[in-house]
Symmetry: D2
């Protein structure tokens, strides 16, 4: 059993905890919180030992009904792999602690590539992560791009990618962030950081990205244009997508044509937290004109990296060498049936 600790039990951390706990080769030995919030209560109800950053707050936690198992440093010592789910930029400061005890750690896409020295996507470079001490799972948008680019590049060849990312303004439970009624260029310059970030995983891909933020909480939407290396067809592209274990095709017959309707469908399917772990490619949108491919895909910012973290844990632990075996274990443990 791989002993997994979640340092930062928030939006991503709590999902990775549940997904890792569902693996037959992993167990959650602890999760960390800085304040005794609703999420900390949830950790208790789920049976995860709660460790805290500032042990002087122990009384406050316990008064709120949250037993404290110890300090974060104690949690780190008990773990084989730590998944760092702290906010972007904070994770960096935890590196020394992981090094002190010689522990393996995974950071999220909010940290720089150089912090871990390796950026991960299960379908792209699982084997290169085997046995590594430090890994960074790329962000939700980069994960979504890597999956589909890698698959199409392998099977057809990708000459150039131009992607426009229409990003959600804040996660559903975040009430202080906006915008309320605006489209915000983020950044107002071109390219956005997403293209270079794809290159940390797929260095040879020619990609230019543009990004903006809109007033929604439910999923990012990517408008993707690719120049393929040869003429292809809609059917061939759909075939590549269907064959991918983490690309879901939103079928035209469902009538779904928005992020909100897609979220409702995933909710109705009974997925935990209504999570869409796979890329949600809108089947009706896939168009091929000569060598040019166009399509829309929805990326659930809270979910798609969760299963990548699970595979990263397994690769770093080193017992499973075959990416397809790990991916299958992860998907099946979640009862992940394609949309």
């Amino acid at each position: 059993m791989i002993k997994v600790a979640i340092n930062g039990y928030g939006t991503i951390g709590k999902r990775v905890a549940d997904a890792a706990a569902a693996q037959k080769d992993m167990e959650i030995i602890g999760v960390s919180k800085t304040r005794p919030t609703a999420e900390a209560l949830v950790a208790v109800k789920k049976g995860y030992p709660v460790y805290i950053a500032d042990i002087s707050k122990k009384a406050a936690f316990e008064k709120a009904g949250i037993p404290v198992a110890g300090s974060i440093e104690e949690m780190v010592q008990k773990a084989d792999v730590i998944v760092d789910g702290t906010p972007g930029g904070v994770g960096e400061s935890n590196k020394a602690l992981y090094e002190k005890y010689g522990k393996k750690a995974i950071w999220q896409g909010g940290e720089d590539h150089d912090l871990a020295g390796f950026s991960f996507n299960a379908h792209a470079n699982y084997k290169d992560a085997i046995g590594r001490q430090f890994v960074r799972v790329v962000s939700c948008n980069t994960t979504g791009l890597c999956r589909v680019i890698k698959a199409l590049d392998d099977k057809i060849g990708v000459a150039k990618v131009k992607a426009v990312m229409v990003r959600r303004g804040a996660d559903p439970h975040v009430v202080k962030k906006g915008p309320i009624d605006a489209v915000v260029l983020d950044p107002p310059t071109i390219p956005s950081h997403h293209g270079p970030d794809v290159n940390t995983v797929l260095p040879h891909i020619d990609i230019v990205t543009m990004a903006m933020i809109v007033p929604t909480t439910q999923m990012h939407m990517h408008a993707i244009q690719m120049e393929l290396k040869r003429e292809s067809s809609r059917d061939e592209v759909l075939g590549v997508m269907k064959a991918h274990s983490r690309i879901g095709l939103v079928q035209a017959t469902t009538g779904i044509k928005s992020t909100a309707e897609l979220k409702e469908y995933v909710m109705d399917l009974g997925r935990p937290r209504s999570d869409l772990w796979e890329n949600g490619v809108f089947e009706a949108s896939v168009a091929v004109i000569g060598k040019d491919l166009y399509f829309f895909q929805a990326i659930h910012q809270e979910a798609d990296v969760v299963i990548e973290n699970v595979d990263a844990i397994r690769a770093m632990a080193g017992d499973v060498k075959d990416p397809e075996v790990s991916i299958k274990m992860t998907n099946e443990s979640l009862g992940f049936v394609a949309i």
Copy 2:
């Protein structure tokens, strides 16, 4: 086993189907759809027989992977109780069909009180529903008001209620309705229909309501002011609320102070569809000044009536005479642990 049919498998219908299916004394014998949408696919995955309004569309359903069990008329004949979840105003036209076969039927709050001649809330008038052919479960807002008013009136006495309902603009998956950036008076006159609607359940309550719509999809918020019949205290009021099996107190220590954070918490607890079946009274807001009581409560428009429908089915079927027994059966079947 009470044979339950869901006529209109939409936002409310699909939730009532799952809740009724979870009861040991009920089974779902069919659900109906008018079009082969994503929701119809979900019904198939859940194993509910799908009946359709226009049997000439059978081929279209089956092409979309949805086996058709028959017409709605056939479904009605097989049922003991039909839960009519069709859109407001449509349900009325189904009455003749239910009468033709002498079936019991439940309408939702979008229909007029006179259609059923009886408006239902489990804690208020379960016994009066026993054996009835037709019942109307009042709307989400009215249900939320009735629960808390009835409980306080029984224990302390309510002289006057003034409530401001800040309503969500549309359900999460509805993408055509707004507003996007406005507060809309709905209606622009005072009182809104909610006060009189409370009186269909609790005729003697003096209540004036004001209502508006805001650009959110997540829960209604009620700002409630009550004049009690005698001086009371915050502790007494909290005690009444805590003792109620369908009022949840959102504790101050959770840090939750918005509909979105409350929804996240319910999601994290693993509730199906992240549903808040109970009134979400914000503990920190409960204030008593002399005889005046003030508080905020969140009402999940998709969820609170679901469990009332289950109790209404049981009352109409007639085997369970005690409201507390039915309420307990319903709550426990859903693993409903108070927030």
Copy 3:
């Protein structure tokens, strides 16, 4: 003086009325309304004679303080040019009336190209509109695309255009339309109608467009990618844009990086109705990589076609033959100083 009538005094109609009234060679002889709303009151305050669709409603208008000048048919007879600002699809039914009296008429982009047989953009084809009876001013998005594509094609050469349109969900005063919290593919297929619509004005341009709707009321945002016919530079492209009388460059020093901040700036400049008549190209976004050009532009859906309507009126009336003369007259009459 060209006698102008506005058939449909709504979002576009009321703006065209004010803009035409500001021209020294035009006068507004009447505007039409179907109901005695706030906009009708505004027409009265501005001194525009109000004509009504259904003369039997005359009493209702007059009771609301709106004198009625006559029927729409009477208005049409008095006009030289009718600007039809009725909702998309309705304008078509008015054609017979305009033909009956041999009047010139302008439709908006919501109508099909075939209705008028000619689609207009001042910089692209003013001369072809001279003396025409029927003209269609293309939609706000198409207008914004035509301006910038035509200018770059004339000066540098445009090989291919790929544009993603992130559209506002509803105009600011429209409270029933959404979405509230979703990105809606509209259409979910590729290409959207915008590319073919550009071709009604610029037939030889190779363009593929993708479109979605987001929950904002303030301006559309275009993410544009163009393959130029030769290598160019950022400076050359900026030079072409600066030289265009209806393209505004949102300078990086202003700190403006969203539609909302741009709207505020235009408001602060004192523009009537805070209208942005020109394309709002974000200077910081303009990037040239080899032959590939990338940039963002904001398009104010209520405003950019207004000045095109004014030029169309002038072209159709026939006295001003030179497009640059008309464009200058229009711009200067509005005190239109580039952002």
Copy 4:
């Protein structure tokens, strides 16, 4: 001529600048900015001398096309009255500067009452402000409450006020603040600060307020309930409102029933920045049941305090002793015709 300086040329400051500049007894001798943004450019275009907080940034301003007239300290010395429009909490730190030069200063409602020792509303206590050195103009919500409560209390008598404030999340140009899809209790406790704030102007009023934030940028909405001291009638209340020079009645015939439609109407009337300076009471909503009065009013958060600042300047300067004279001068200078 009263020499007015605007320290903090932002949302409120820029509006007060324009409104004061429109008075025949006032002139703007300078405005201040901390950064060379779009608003600073607007100040230049309007001809207001720009002073800056950090004189070392002079070069950056001038590079952006903004001539710098000097430091804020220099501006203060030239002024008779400084209107402090800096963000809430910042204004306090400026007091020493105003005292150093013995200047009169006005703070906004984001500062505490104690900072100025006097909280102002033109209709309530203009005379008490005559000749004062320091005055605080209460916030937009408090201003809107004071106007209507004071008028009704004077004419009919107000026994108790219960108001629910549904507040906009952020001003239209603010793109970082939310919420996007939530109703946020702000504060989650009762009463909110608005009631006590009304008491800084009207000490004897019995008032309890509840407040929440919703995802809109356009105006606050107040749901107001008042117990009057005697039985009254809808006509009497409407009469009091109509007679007030800063309460506007949104007439039922306009069909306006939302903040967005009201904003559009004010925009169409040609008001600068589409500003609603008066309370927007929805005529259709005014209901009187015995001694109980109910109504909705819209409060434009960017605008209603602007004209109060102008009157405060005049009162502090001391030449105009009669509030009605000042209010009339202010209103008329802006061409303020009641909605």
